[in-house]
């Protein structure tokens, strides 16, 4: 590609005298063979696409409007970036006493957090006790995202019509396409994974179980465990992961995690963010078994997140768990 300066290419874009779209385009062949095309054929292809897609003869009448549209787009972009920059410039300075962030809520959390929640990690006390309702919504958002990915990418095996061969084809196609880039018993990958996967998963469990004592918690620990599972899957393939993680396990874990969380915290729908006493003793701050409901909720969120991350990856890879 020739180097042109920014201004002239901007002018080209506005007047459409030159378009990146169809000059760099090639028509993809359905044949498996690699086809080598000459320059003349390439030009012919481009002309075809021009006629078909851009309707070159009819373009003149629309050109004025498209020009206006582009000018307006630039004006809008400049306007909004200016508004955003001005707003950022007028934000209060960081660390001043009169900032709206310095109110009684923060004081209450810092001064009475340990006493009221029993968690030495104030952040965990905040998100899983004072604001547990928000975290409930967050984990359901993640669940809905997983469902959306499933709807988009899943290839169903069990409910297909025996006469309809199209779905079978797509399933085998997807698995074959998947195998092109999959490492086949890569010795280095397998040895490294052998060493790393237990450490990663143990670290994830540690982060979840210590969520109320040290930095971390359900979401980050679950993401770490999910990453470990993905590494294991990459090294040893789907046959090995399906022995302990199939769709049934996925459904059970997600359902029980979300149901437990919802049962424990759904009263917030009726009494707002005011917490009810759970009657579970707070224990001694700093011990593993302390802080009331925070630890079980952390475990539930961690399981849900780990399963969701792994499910995302498996869906993208072959359209099913």
């Amino acid at each position: 590609m020739k180097k042109r300066n920014l201004f002239s290419s901007l002018l080209d874009w506005v007047w459409e005298s030159r378009s990146d779209l169809y000059e760099n385009m090639t028509i993809r062949d359905d044949d498996e063979e690699v086809n080598v095309i000459t320059k003349a054929e390439h030009k012919e292809d481009i002309e075809k696409v021009k006629e078909k897609v851009f309707d070159a003869a009819d373009r003149g009448s629309f050109r004025k409007w498209r020009f206006l549209y582009k000018i307006l787009a630039v004006v809008f972009a400049v306007f909004f970036s200016a508004v955003l920059l001005i707003t950022v410039g007028q934000l209060p300075k960081i660390g001043e006493i009169n900032n709206p962030a310095n109110n009684e809520v923060e004081k209450r959390y810092i001064e009475k957090g340990l006493e009221e929640t029993g968690a030495t990690n104030i952040v965990a006390g905040m998100i899983l006790d004072y604001r547990a309702f928000d975290t409930l919504g967050e984990s359901h958002v993640l669940f809905v995202a997983a469902i959306a990915v499933t709807i988009l990418l899943r290839l169903d095996k069990s409910e297909r019509d025996p006469e309809d061969t199209k779905i079978t084809e797509t399933i085998t196609e997807a698995e074959e396409e998947d195998k092109i880039f999959e490492p086949h018993h890569d010795a280095i990958l397998q040895k490294v994974a052998m060493l790393l996967v237990p450490i990663i998963i143990l670290f994830g469990i540690y982060v979840i179980l210590n969520g109320h004592l040290s930095p971390g918690g359900g979401f980050s620990g679950g993401a770490i465990i999910g990453a470990g599972l993905i590494l294991y899957l990459n090294a040893f393939g789907f046959e090995n992961t399906e022995r302990f993680f199939n769709e049934k396990v996925y459904k059970t874990v997600i359902f029980s995690g979300l149901a437990f969380y919802a049962l424990a915290k759904c009263y917030a729908f009726f009494c707002g963010a005011n917490g009810l006493d759970s009657h579970i003793s707070k224990g001694i701050p700093g011990h593993i078994l302390s802080a009331g409901l925070i630890l079980p909720l952390d475990i539930a969120v961690g399981c849900v997140v780990a399963c969701t991350m792994y499910a995302f990856y498996a869906m993208f890879r072959k359209g099913g768990l």
Partner: protein
Amino acid sequence: MCVLLSFLVICAVAVSFSKKLLNSVLIFMSYSLIMSVIWMLLESPDLAITEAAVGAGITSVLFFVTLNRIHSMFKDASGKKKEVKEDEEKKSVQ
């Protein structure tokens, strides 16, 4: 801190200007890593852990799988060069 922040800006600009999508994802990954170090320096280790696990780990892996799916792992942004073709050719010969 200033060095890290300037690095952040450089990474953010480089993501949109790199020719190959694979490079973009790798730069995005390093962006997340720098971001997690910055969270650490701002004394919020909770966010740092999450950023490292989700931003640098899972998101990039999902990006890689998607690039693989749409067959543009080794193409540049305009979809012109196909270095993969050679590999596939060899495979079909075998």
